[in-house]
Each structure stands twice: as C-alpha cells, then as structure tokens.
C-alpha cells in the first residue's frame, strides 16, 4: 500500500488525504481478490518502522484504521472473509483500536471464504525472532529444528508461502514484509500509486503472475495466492 503520500502531494493535499483515499482501494482490492478466487490476501498496512513517522500522521492513521475497521466489519462478515491482524502487538496501538482488531478477528474467525491478513505494526524480522524465541522456550534440540518446524512457530503458522507480492508506486524493496514467507514469491511492481490502484490493475498483476515461469529452485509448488 505505497504511494499515499505522493498521491496527496501531487494534488497539493496533506499526506493524510492520501491515507483517506487509500480506503476505497482497500475495499476495491478485497472485492476483486475475492471475485478472482484468491484465497489468501495480505495487506501491508503499517510496518514496525512506520512508527518513525511524525506523531500527528501516526495518530491520524490509527484513527482512520479504526474507522475503516468498524465501518466495513459487517461487510467483511457478510462476504465470508476471515480477517486477522499480523503484528499489532505494540503498546503504542491505542487500546480501542486493539479491541476492534480483536473483535473483528473474533467475529470473522469461522468464515470459510478468503483469509485476509492485515499486517499492522508488522516486521518480518520480528516474526522470525519470535519463532526462534518460541522454539528455545519449548526446549527444542538444535538438531530437530527444520524449516517446517520453524515455520510452525511463526505467527499464524497456517499462512502458506506467498506466491505473489504486488508493491505499488514503483518502489522495489522488500521493506521487512513477511520475510520468511516470501522466499519464493514472484514480485510485481506497478507504477500506479496505491490510492489509484483499482481492480483492473490488480487483475493485470494476476495476469502477469500467471505468465511467470515459477521454478521454486526445486521446491515443490505451493498452492494459493497471496498479494500485497
């Protein structure tokens, strides 16, 4: 979800206006992904590094996210989308927002349609450190640690490997996103800014992905799509 700030700058609007415009895209992409048969969709909403942004912008983002979550909760429930929040552990997250995250996750926990993982206050390295801690706490002997076992200790261990990462606004970095899961992901970098990104752009990315020759370096293919 890159390019909100630039989108606003181009229009001589405050950065916050870009974030507000992003809401429409989020809902549009969720719908498009569901319609296209994507079963796992992850959105990178806020990274552990985003806390370094100006305090007012962070505050605004928190309020905006809260409003979006509450506004669209019934829709997500009705659409059969299972929602969950990856990360979201920082005490700086307002209590009310954390409660809403919990509520939305509880509310949609039994949904069978698409799984929507919102990476909020997420950092790929932190997840890996968490998994390592968890392994050590369980007293797992070093010889027994395998990739599969390690993956079981990551947050949301049911998340499959990521197939496709879409990074908007032409940025070409990983930025600490689900580091473990993107090992064999295909990457697409559309130039369009996130607030302008729409269902047709999303479908174009899927189309590009289908034409890629995925070799997995010898690893057996995994099903499912996961985009950001």
């Amino acid at each position: 979800m890159d390019g909100n700030g630039r989108w606003a700058q181009l229009r001589s609007l405050p950065r916050t206006a870009g974030h507000r415009a992003a809401e429409t895209t989020v809902i549009d992409i969720i719908e498009a992904a569901r319609a296209a048969g994507v079963e796992w969709l992850s959105l990178y909403a806020f990274s552990t590094e985003n806390w370094n942004r100006p305090g007012t912008e962070v505050d605004y983002l928190m309020r905006l996210v809260r409003r979006v979550v509450r506004k669209h909760a019934p829709l997500l429930l009705a659409r059969g989308i299972r929602c969950r929040f990856l990360g979201a552990a920082d005490p700086r997250i307002p209590r009310e927002l954390a409660q809403d995250f919990d509520d939305l996750a509880t509310l949609t926990a039994d949904n069978q349609g698409m799984t929507l993982t919102v990476a909020f206050d997420h950092g790929g390295r932190r997840d890996i450190v968490q998994a390592a801690k968890s392994l050590i706490r369980n007293g797992t002997p070093a010889d027994e640690v395998t990739e599969r076992l390690f993956a079981d200790h990551l947050p949301f261990p049911d998340t499959p490997d990521v197939d496709l990462v879409i990074r908007t606004s032409g940025e070409q970095r990983i930025s600490n996103f689900m580091l473990w899961q993107v090992a064999y992901a295909e990457w697409v970098f559309p130039d369009v800014l996130w607030p302008d990104f729409r269902a047709p752009d999303f479908l174009a990315c899927l189309h590009t992905y289908r034409r890629r020759d995925r070799r997995f370096g010898g690893v057996p293919p995994q099903t499912n799509g996961d985009t950001s």
Binding site: R63, V69, R70, A73, P74, L77, D100, L104, T106
Partner: protein, 489 residues
C-alpha cells in the same frame, strides 16, 4: 438474604403433595412472583435489615439464586430425612444472623414473626401471580396451598402459630402487616431500583459484557416497573413508589405472557437446567460444557459485532474495563479489584463480618457441612476477621474500607488465615485420608482437578492446598479453582 432462601424453599412441600403444582416450579411467572415476594419480604424492617447486612444478592446474585434453588429442591425431596436436614441447616444459618439496622433497631433472622412474614409473602405472591395472569386459583386449591405453606413454616419453626389457621384470617393478617409494619426499607429499594440495573452477568455470559449490559439496560428498568406495579397499593403509597402510566398494563401483560408458556410442550422450560447452565464456569468439564462453549463463542461473536457497529462517541472514548485488564496482567489483580470481587461479598463497599460469614456460608453450603464442622469453619473465619480487623481497621469504625485494605495488603497472611486454610482442608477431606481426592475436590470446586495442579497420583495434599488457598487470599493471585468459587456473580 437467607430469609429469601427459606422463603423460596417453602413452596416445595406444596408441590410434593400436589403433583399438578410441579408445573409451578418451571413456570416463568414464578420469576416475576419471586421478585415481588422478595420486595415484600425486604420491606419488613426485620427482614430488610437482615438482608441489607448479610445478603450477597447484590454482588453475587446468580450464585445466590442457585443456592436458593438447590435448597428449595432439598426441601422438596421425597425423603423426610433430607428435608429435616435442610431445615436444620437453614435454621443454623439463620441463627448466625442477628444484629441491628442502620437506625439501631435489633434484628434477628430467627424472629418468628419475620419468618412467618416471609412464608406469607410467598403464598400471597403465588396467589397474586395466578390472579394477575388471568388464571385465578379456586378456593379449594388456595386453601390446600395455604395449608402446605403453613406446614413448611412448621417444619422450620416447630409450629406455624404465627400464621393464622384459617385462610380468611390470613388475608386480614396480610393486609394488616402491609398497612402497619412494612416500611420503605433500604433493602426493598435496592431490589427495586438497583439490583437489576447493576446485575452482573452470570458465569455463562461473563465473556460478553457488552451484550449483557445492552440487554440489562433494557430489561432492568422494565422488571423494576413491573414489580412496582404488582405491589399492594397501600405499600406503594407508603413507600412513595412511582405510578408510571402504562405500568399496570405492562405488568399484567408480562404476567399474562409468562402464563402463556403453559401452552408450550412439557419440558421446554426447566428452571433447574436454566439455572445450572447459567452458573457453568467457563472452563468447566461438565458434559454440557461443549454446547455451552459453542454458545459462548456465538455470544462472543455477537458482542464483538455489537461493539463494532456501535457508533463511535468521539474518537477516544476511554472505557474502564481494559484498565482493569491491564492491572491484572501476570495473574495478579489490584488490591481494589480483589477487595470488590472476593472480599466484599455483600457488595456494600466495606469489609465486615457479614462478608466473611457469607464466604464461610458459601463454603459450608458447597461442602454440605454438618455440625460440628460447620461451626469450626465459621470459628476459623471469625478468628480471621478479628485478625483482619486488628490489622486493617485503622480508623476504628469496626469495618475495613477498600482504602484501608489497599494500604495494608502485605500483612494479610497471618496465622488465622492459615488456620482457615487448614480447617477448610479438613472439611473438604471428608474421609480424613489426609489428601483430597477427585470427588472431594469436585464437591468444593464443582470441577475436576485442573491440569496445572500439583497433583501427584490423583490427589491433592494438605500443604499444596493450604499454599494455593493462601496465594489466592493474600497474594491475590488468580486461581482457576477459587475464582469461580468466590468471585463469580
């Protein structure tokens, strides 16, 4: 509130001899009639004072309801030995309740006139319940019923001399008491205007405070209005209760609607299973627990949705509940929280002997103690109370406030508390084996051994038991076994 226990218990013999009245047990009208009877009881100065001082019904209404129901079932038991034992237990329990009310007038839960009045309100409420729902009882049934209530009073008091022999005289007696003796007591006001507005959620719905609060905000005032409208006119006038327009219609409608459930198939409404289900603690191993946990998951989702769709009131509506959670991280709770959840059983904001007596009463009820174990338990709690009072009552008013408690928490685990733990262990260890086995454990906590217990070969030793009790009572550590026992509403 034990007076209520007695009271509710006494319709039992009626149903025993009159099988057709068995239906009354599960009759939803009883719910309304019992509330009405309890208000009339509480309006009696003696009963009201006993209620206000001793009852746990404000802080733990659901536990109280369950105990009342179980007591009622015992009084209804076909075996006379069970009935006599329960009557003796109730008498012992009441004998421990005496004191003086806020105006310094003495009360005594063994007072014969007061006990007769409790039975009278129940009989009168049963009759009124039938009248209000449009199915009045005929004279013969009423007389038979009256005789049954007198028999019950006799079972408790030795004879029923305080209630007139004849039904016609009873109505004169009833009207006279309403006119002359009833007062606008604190306890009656609490039941009418506070209890339902602040009713804590039963164990079953504990995970859904939002849903509970929303339902309560609607039903609480309604129940209050319905009960007020069903009270006798002279009392309403004397207590200055409001005459809300439409309330009589609402009240009659409620009774009528509740009465209509008689057309439901038999067994649809079963008071016992309703009460038992409501009291199920979250991690109970009861066979019904699976259904209940499925239900609880639904309730949780419903309340999550409710919270999410509730419009935001400003951007930062601070809500007090999470603060409490924050304070309890790591399994400890704040002194204030512990004071209100565990110690202040009567919910009056002070720790006083009736609070500890209520704890002893609850433990004795659970363990089904006879003499002399019951007295030993009460004595141990009394000694603990003296220790607490000496250590904590800094302003010398005879009771301990939440502030006084918070100021002196570390000095709590004195010898008297250890003595309480030991007496409780002995009382729980019924076979005197020196360890608590699974059955004995279940009697006290209503659940099987918990996994994290330090149980070797399926038993629970004295030192582990005493240690757990002390860490719950003085360390304020949350404990899966004691929390449902003493903190559940």
């Amino acid at each position: 509130m034990t007076t209520g226990t007695t009271g509710t218990a006494d319709q039992a013999p009626l149903f025993r001899t009159q099988p057709q009245f068995r239906a009354f047990f599960d009759d939803p009208r009883w719910a309304l009639a019992i509330i009405r009877a309890t208000v009339l009881e509480a309006a009696h100065p003696q009963v009201g004072a006993a209620l206000a001082e001793n009852s746990t019904f404000v802080a733990h209404p659901w536990r109280r309801l369950r105990n009342t129901f179980l007591s009622m079932r015992r009084m209804f038991d076909p075996d006379p030995a069970v009935r006599e034992r329960e009557a003796a237990r109730l008498n012992r329990l009441h004998a421990r309740m005496s004191g003086s009310d806020s105006r310094g007038r003495a009360y005594d839960a063994m007072d014969r006139a007061a006990r007769a009045w409790v039975v009278a309100t129940l009989f009168e409420s049963a009759v009124t319940m039938c009248r209000l729902s449009g199915q009045p009882l005929d004279q013969d049934t009423m007389e038979r019923m009256y005789a049954e209530y007198r028999t019950f009073l006799a079972a408790l008091d030795g004879d029923a001399g305080e209630l007139p022999l004849d039904l016609n005289d009873f109505w004169r007696y009833f009207d006279r008491v309403v006119e002359d003796e009833l007062e606008d007591t604190e306890a009656a006001r609490v039941i009418l205007f506070r209890l339902f507005d602040h009713l804590p959620a039963p164990a079953l719905l504990d995970g859904a405070p939002t849903l509970w609060a929303a339902g309560r905000a609607l039903v609480g005032p309604l129940l209050g209005a319905i009960t007020v409208a069903s009270l006798p006119e002279p009392y309403r006038r004397k207590a200055g209760l409001p005459e809300t327009p439409g309330a009589p219609t609402l009240m009659q409608g409620a009774y009528l609607a509740a009465g209509l459930t008689r057309f439901l198939p038999e067994g649809w409404i079963d008071a016992e299973s309703v009460i038992e289900t409501l009291s199920l603690p979250p991690d109970s191993d009861d066979p019904r627990a699976r259904t209940v946990s499925a239900l609880r998951a639904r309730v949780k989702r419903a309340s999550a949705l409710l919270r999410l769709v509730t419009p935001l009131s400003g951007d930062t509506g601070p809500d007090p509940a999470p603060t409490a959670t924050a304070a309890t991280e790591g399994g400890r709770r704040s002194a204030e929280e512990f004071f209100h959840q565990v110690l202040d059983q009567t919910g009056d904001g002070h720790l006083d002997w009736p609070d500890l007596a209520a704890t002893a009463r609850e433990l004795a009820t659970r363990l089904d103690l006879d003499e002399p174990e019951e007295t030993r338990l009460y004595d141990a709690f009394a000694a603990w109370w003296r220790e607490l009072q000496a250590a904590l009552d800094t302003d010398g008013d005879g009771r301990v406030s939440a502030d006084e408690y918070a100021a002196a928490v570390p000095s709590l685990a004195g010898p008297a508390l250890i003595r309480v733990a030991e007496v409780l262990f002995d009382a729980t260890d019924k076979d005197g084996s020196g360890t608590i086995n699974a059955d004995e454990y279940r009697a006290l906590f209503r659940t099987a051994f918990h996994r994290d217990l330090t149980t070797t070969d399926g038993t629970y030793g004295r030192s582990a038991f005493v240690g757990d009790f002390l860490s719950f009572m003085s360390g304020r550590r949350r404990n899966t076994a004691y929390d449902p026992l003493l903190t559940d509403a």
